[in-house]
Each structure stands twice: as structure tokens, then as C-alpha cells.
């Protein structure tokens, strides 16, 4: 096993390469483009025997991906942000077709206003599509998750498409040491795509029936997607255990960091969770009992595991790198539902929204969130949700507003035109 420096994007491409994917329909978008560039280079150089086709949009890309997957070939694709939403209609279709492919999403905040930097509203918009979701915190996890995702997608008990999510910039363009598994070992872990009953031969052309179904039939098929997604939790546990046995890296559905004696726990997904770890290390060194819980699997939602890990804590702070306007943090909402009705009452939950559009979360902010949580536990009352946003940032916004509105109100306008 070689350990080399790889970006999250290159790690995703390595995952596809080791999975020996047959077909890669593609469309570029920042910050995902490096994934398909890397695959294109390998295919061109003959090191990857696969077919890459650039489509005219993400909608077409996903249509091609789903169509190929249901003819019985292993399909990989990748997108980000606006691209994922542009293909949104097809996400539901692919899940409905039970197309077992892997789609990498490189998280980037959604327009408008426009940003290139990450938050999770893009991937969470796909939350209810029927795609399963794996979330990464390191570049190593990106590579490994792609392999886990294929096992999960192609398992006959599941047969659903899987989204693997990594954060733009913080993973996509960041190099870290990544161990590249031996291709032979990967081939043992992930055998060639068995057609799952899906096949198409040019010599025996056939069409997939498309019919407008009434509510009863629709309910049946849609609920089958749900049941398969729920069943995927147990399959995931099997697959992750097999992966650990072969490669020595452990990927439980929910990561628990320094949680053994923790009274207070932070909950978050994605790469900012490693920043939380750095802060927690400092707090633990100072004698505090603080831990981190990070769901890796978000669909199916690991509710039972979260109840087990969080039910007996004094306080839980959820840090949402997303925002549902009119409601608040999505993860907080989901966790509240999962922890509702516990016999012992459950922990006090405090909601934070931070890291929107790639806005950094500083170490002192993690420290302060723990402090706010501690006080809330003491008082027994959860404070209102808090946006991580500082006085200094507001001043900066004010400065720009003054310039912008000063101009648009006519002051100084045209003074430099000639």
C-alpha cells in the first residue's frame, strides 16, 4: 500500500479507477473538474479501461449515467452545487430506476449570491431523492468511501445510487497523505459488477417500460426505495466491517471522537469536523469532557446509532453548515426528531449554523460553542439558534453596503466615466 499526497478530487478519481468503472458521463464545474480531468488523463494514457463522455449538461449527464447503470455496467460520475441541482430531476429518476451507480458531489454553496466555497445545501437538496449519502472528512475517506459506495449500491438488498460528498476547497483542492490500496485487494473487496439482474445486449434490444402509474402503484415503488434505503444501514455495517478487515481502516456509520466520558458533544458532518477535533483536543487537554459525533452515513439516517451515542449526554451542539430558510439547520432538525421521546429525556440540544459559503469556523468559535452549550445545560434552557457571524464581519458587510448603496443612490456615480 503506497501513501502519497492527493487532493480530495484526485482521491475520488482514484476511487473510481480502483473500482474499475466502465463508464464516466461527465460535465465540468468548479470545484469538481479535476476529478474528470484526472480520469480523462488516465483513460487517454491507457491506465484505465473505461469510457468517458462529456455531456451537454448535468441533467443529460445523470440521464446517461442512470441509463448506463441499468444496462449493467459500473458507472461513475461527479458534480457540484448548481450542477447537482440542474440534474435534480434525474436524481429522483435514478433512485426510482434503482440504478446502482456512484455520484461524487463536491460541496459548494448554492447561488445566489454566488460562491465557489463549500456548504452542504447542495447535497442536502438531494436528501429526499432516494440516493444514499456518504459524507467525507478527509481525502483518505474520499477514496475509501467511493469503494464502500459501490459495494453498497450494488448489493442486491439495496441496489440504489449512492452520493459520496466531499467539501470543495477544504478537501477538493487540499492534498493530504492518502494510502492507495492495492488494486488486487480492491478487486477482492469489490468484485466486477454483477449485473444485479440488469443487462442489455445490442443483439437483443429491449426498452424499459415507462408508464404513468396511479397512486397505489406509485406508493408501492416509492416505498420500496425507502425500505431498501433503510435496509442499507445493516448492509453498510457489513461492508464497512469487511473493508476494515481487509484494509485496516474503520468507517462506522457514525464516527465518535473522544466520546467515552464526554458530557458535551458536538455534532457535524464534513471536513470541518476535523477542525472540531483539533479544538476538542485542546479542550480535553484542559480537562473538559467534550467529544465529537460525526455521521458519515446520512441516508439512511443512522438514528438508532445516534440515539445510542447521544441519548445519555448532558448536552449536544449541532453545527449545521447549511440553512433551511424559515426553519434553520437541517441536521439539527433531523437530530431533534431522532432524539425525541427517549425514556430518559435525552440531551439538551443547541443549534449553531456556521461555515455557510465556506466561511471558516475559527478555533475560538468551537471553544465558545462548547461554553454556550455548558451554560445551556446548567440553566436547562437551550438558547435560540446562533449564526456564526462576528461583529467584524458585519462591519465589513456595512462598509460594502455603504459603498454599494452610496453609489446606487447617485452619490459619486459616473464621476469616473469618460
Amino acid at each position: 500500500m503506497t501513501r502519497i499526497l492527493l487532493t480530495g478530487n484526485a482521491a475520488a478519481a482514484w476511487g473510481a479507477r480502483l473500482a474499475a468503472v466502465d463508464y464516466v458521463p461527465a460535465f465540468p464545474i468548479t470545484p469538481q473538474t479535476e476529478i474528470i480531468e484526472t480520469l480523462a488523463e488516465w483513460i487517454d494514457g491507457g491506465v484505465l479501461d473505461s469510457r468517458l463522455v462529456t455531456l451537454e449538461s448535468e441533467h443529460s449527464m445523470l440521464t446517461a449515467a442512470g441509463a448506463a447503470a441499468v444496462t449493467g455496467v459500473r458507472v461513475f460520475s461527479a458534480t457540484s452545487s448548481q450542477g447537482l441541482l440542474y440534474g435534480m430531476e434525474m436524481l429522483y429518476n435514478l433512485a426510482g430506476w434503482r440504478a446502482p451507480l456512484v455520484l461524487v458531489n463536491v460541496s459548494r454553496g448554492l447561488s445566489a449570491p454566488i460562491t465557489l466555497e463549500p456548504d452542504h445545501n447542495d447535497v442536502l437538496a438531494a436528501r429526499d431523492s432516494g440516493f444514499l449519502q456518504l459524507h467525507c472528512a478527509t481525502c483518505q475517506e474520499v477514496l475509501d468511501n467511493v469503494l464502500l459506495a459501490y459495494r453498497l449500491a450494488e448489493d442486491a438488498r439495496v441496489r440504489l445510487p449512492v452520493l459520496v460528498n466531499l467539501d470543495g476547497f477544504y478537501l477538493s483542492f487540499t492534498r493530504e497523505p492518502v494510502a492507495i490500496p492495492e488494486p488486487a485487494a480492491v478487486a477482492d473487496f469489490l468484485p466486477p459488477f454483477s449485473d444485479c439482474g440488469l443487462h442489455f445486449r445490442g443483439g437483443q434490444p429491449s426498452s424499459q417500460a415507462v408508464a404513468v402509474l396511479g397512486g397505489g402503484l406509485y406508493s408501492y415503488f416509492r416505498y420500496q426505495v425507502h425500505l431498501a434505503a433503510e435496509q442499507a444501514a445493516a448492509v453498510y455495517a457489513e461492508v464497512a466491517a469487511d473493508f476494515e478487515r481487509r484494509f485496516g481502516r474503520s468507517y462506522p456509520a457514525v464516527e465518535a471522537y473522544r466520546c467515552k466520558d464526554a458530557e458535551l458533544v458536538l455534532v457535524m458532518i464534513g471536513s470541518f469536523a476535523t477542525k472540531a477535533k483539533a479544538a476538542i483536543d485542546g479542550l480535553c487537554a484542559a480537562g473538559q469532557r467534550v467529544g465529537l459525533v460525526r455521521p458519515r452515513l446520512l441516508r439512511p439516517f443512522p438514528a438508532a446509532e445516534l440515539r445510542r451515542l447521544l441519548g445519555h449526554r448532558k448536552g449536544v451542539a449541532v453545527i449545521d453548515q447549511n440553512l433551511s430558510p424559515g426553519r434553520g439547520g437541517i441536521l439539527h432538525t433531523e437530530l431533534t426528531a431522532a432524539l425525541y421521546g427517549l425514556p430518559q429525556g435525552g440531551p439538551l440540544l443547541v443549534s449553531f449554523v456556521g461555515g455557510l459559503g465556506g466561511r471558516d469556523i475559527a478555533e475560538e468559535e468551537f471553544v465558545q460553542m462548547v461554553e454556550v452549550l455548558r451554560q445551556a445545560v446548567q440553566e436547562g434552557i437551550a438558547p435560540p439558534p446562533r449564526l456564526l457571524f462576528t461583529e467584524e464581519e458585519l462591519q465589513q458587510v456595512r462598509r460594502l453596503q455603504d459603498i454599494a448603496h452610496g453609489r446606487s443612490e447617485g452619490k459619486g456615480e459616473g464621476e469616473e466615466t469618460s
Binding site: 445566489a112 487540499t174 497523505p177 483539533a278 457571524f389 454599494a404
Partner: protein, 311 residues
């Protein structure tokens, strides 16, 4: 942990520089994280990259606010507040500037608490050949760290430039090696900080409550007329195209292809470049069928900032 920030302009090899340094540190036994940071910029726009190196797995991510080494490959960045070159430089940090001016000169100008050292990259280039500023700075930076051997550094150069022709790799290695040698006297100048030993976190963040504000302030709707006339984007340029009228056939291809619409035709049908907007992408020079467009280094053209309306 080492926290290193590298500043330069698009096209100066800053991303490659961060990768060479990252690989060299990785080869020297460190856990490493390196990343460039850019938005929608193009050639000539300010960019930066950063490298972290430590004995153990690195959990920190994103921008480095408290560096122990800052490398500035392009001294004109000091004039751009938005480039934020000096952020977080404290008494312990080292600032390396690629410049022909002396370190004392820079110290006087910048009035910094930390140490300032200078690499005369132009002199290295004169001797070793044309090598991007980023790579030169890496040679110096690696020596300032004091934990990267010349061998590891040169291997990293070869690794990161793999795919380039052998001569280019060799030229780069020579130049990097020369910069490395120049800093022998300052080897280990950069102090390594204990993991997590940043400024201790004592002051809580000053979070604010946001009120629901009235429109139009609350919507990101900002309108202004004639912005393309006001924003003169030519300051991004590091190299400029020059049209040789003697060779020009007046085919107009350069004018058609210029992504900025920065080339117009004069009364006789010859193309004229508007340097206030030319970003130096050099597409025109690459596509000219008569090879009538030469490329000049911006630094050799004086004055550095083009005059209004200069053809």
C-alpha cells in the same frame, strides 16, 4: 507544526510551489497538507497557497491566519490590500520576499515585528535560466525551514514537474538548488511551533445578532452603471503582447479572439491593444497566424502601470 503561506500571482507557479514544498516535507517524514486558494481569478490575479507540516495527522484546515513563514513571490502584492499578504505576521514569523531590494529596505518600509529576508530571484534567473518565481521561492523557503534536504527538495521538484520536458525540470532543479544554497546561512531560521501552539485561545469570538433588515439593503442587489469602464483589469498582467505592424496582415483574428474585447482596429485596419484592459492571457500571441505578436515581460516595460489610453 509548520504553517507556511505563499503569495503570488496567477501564472507564477504558486500552486506548484506549494506542492513542491509539500512533497519535499512529506518526503522528509512529515504529515503534510497543502492547498491553493483561488476564486474565479486568471493569470496575473493575486493568489495564495499554504502548506502545513507536522509530526502527526493534521486536523487543522483552511486558511492559515498565524503563519510561521510567509513567502511573497511578487513584491507588487504589498500594494494590494486585498492580497492580505501580511496577515498574522507576528514577532516569531519569517517573511521571505522575492525582490531585488534589500531586506533592510523592506524592514524600513513594512515596519514588521518579525524577521524579513530577501531572495533576489532575478539574479538566480539570470544565472540559472527562466524559472517561475514560485519555484525559486520554494528553494529558499525549504532552506529557511532547515528540515528539508537538498535531495528531498530536488526529488520533489522532479515529482511535481513530471510530464514537463527533461530540460525544463533540470533548469528548475538548478534554480531551486541555487536558491537553496543562497540561504545556507539562514537554515532553520523558521521556528517550528508545537502542535496547537498557536496564540492561546482566550478571547471569545464577538458574535452578533442579526436583525431582519429592510430592503434594499437586505438583498444582494447592487447596481451601478459603466462598471466595465471603471474597472481597469489590466493590472493583472505579468506579460504583455506587442503587435509588430511590419508583420501584421490585418486579418483581425486577434481582435476576434481577445476574451476581453481589448483589441480594436485603427483607421488603417491594424489591431491596437488597449493595455488598460489587456490581462496578458496571450491568446492573441498564441493564435496569430503571422507570428506578428511578441511577448514582453511586464517588468521590463516601464512604467509598470500603463498610462491611460496607452496603445
Amino acid at each position: 507544526m509548520y504553517r507556511i503561506r505563499l503569495h503570488g500571482r496567477g501564472g507564477q507557479g504558486i500552486k506548484t510551489a506549494s506542492r513542491i514544498l509539500g512533497t519535499a516535507l512529506f518526503r522528509s517524514g512529515f504529515e503534510v497538507q497543502d492547498a491553493p486558494r483561488y476564486g474565479a481569478e486568471r493569470r496575473g490575479a493575486p493568489i495564495f497557497a499554504y502548506v502545513r507540516a507536522d509530526d502527526k495527522v493534521i486536523c487543522e484546515r483552511g486558511l492559515i491566519h498565524q503563519p510561521n513563514l510567509v513567502v511573497v513571490a511578487d513584491e507588487t502584492l504589498f500594494d494590494l490590500p486585498a492580497a492580505n499578504v501580511l496577515e498574522g505576521l507576528d514577532g516569531r514569523a519569517v517573511l521571505l520576499i522575492n525582490s531585488e531590494r534589500s531586506a533592510q529596505d523592506w524592514c524600513r518600509q513594512l515596519q514588521l515585528p518579525g524577521q524579513v529576508t530577501v531572495l533576489d530571484g532575478a539574479a538566480v534567473v539570470r544565472e540559472a535560466g527562466r524559472v517561475p518565481a514560485g519555484a525559486l521561492c520554494v528553494g529558499a523557503a525549504a532552506r529557511l525551514l532547515g528540515v528539508v534536504s537538498r535531495r528531498a527538495l530536488l526529488q520533489a521538484v522532479a515529482e511535481e514537474l513530471a510530464g514537463h520536458d527533461a530540460a525544463a525540470i533540470q533548469t528548475s532543479q538548478q534554480a531551486v538548488s541555487q536558491a537553496y544554497e543562497l540561504f545556507a546561512g539562514e537554515a532553520g531560521l523558521v521556528q517550528r511551533l508545537q502542535s496547537g501552539a498557536k496564540k492561546s485561545v482566550t478571547t471569545p469570538p464577538k458574535w452578533v445578532e442579526l436583525d431582519c433588515e429592510a430592503l434594499p439593503r437586505a438583498a444582494p442587489t447592487i447596481t451601478m452603471a459603466a462598471t466595465s469602464a471603471l474597472v481597469k483589469t489590466g493590472l493583472w498582467r505579468t506579460r504583455r503582447p506587442r503587435i509588430d505592424r511590419a508583420l501584421c496582415s490585418r486579418c483581425g483574428l486577434c481582435r476576434t479572439l481577445c476574451p476581453e474585447g481589448g483589441i480594436d482596429l485603427d483607421g488603417e485596419g491594424y489591431p491596437v491593444i488597449d493595455y488598460r484592459y489587456c490581462k496578458g492571457c496571450l491568446l492573441c500571441a498564441a493564435q496569430c497566424p503571422r507570428r506578428a505578436i511578441a511577448v514582453a515581460d511586464e517588468r521590463t516595460v516601464s512604467p509598470p502601470q500603463p498610462k491611460e489610453g496607452e496603445p
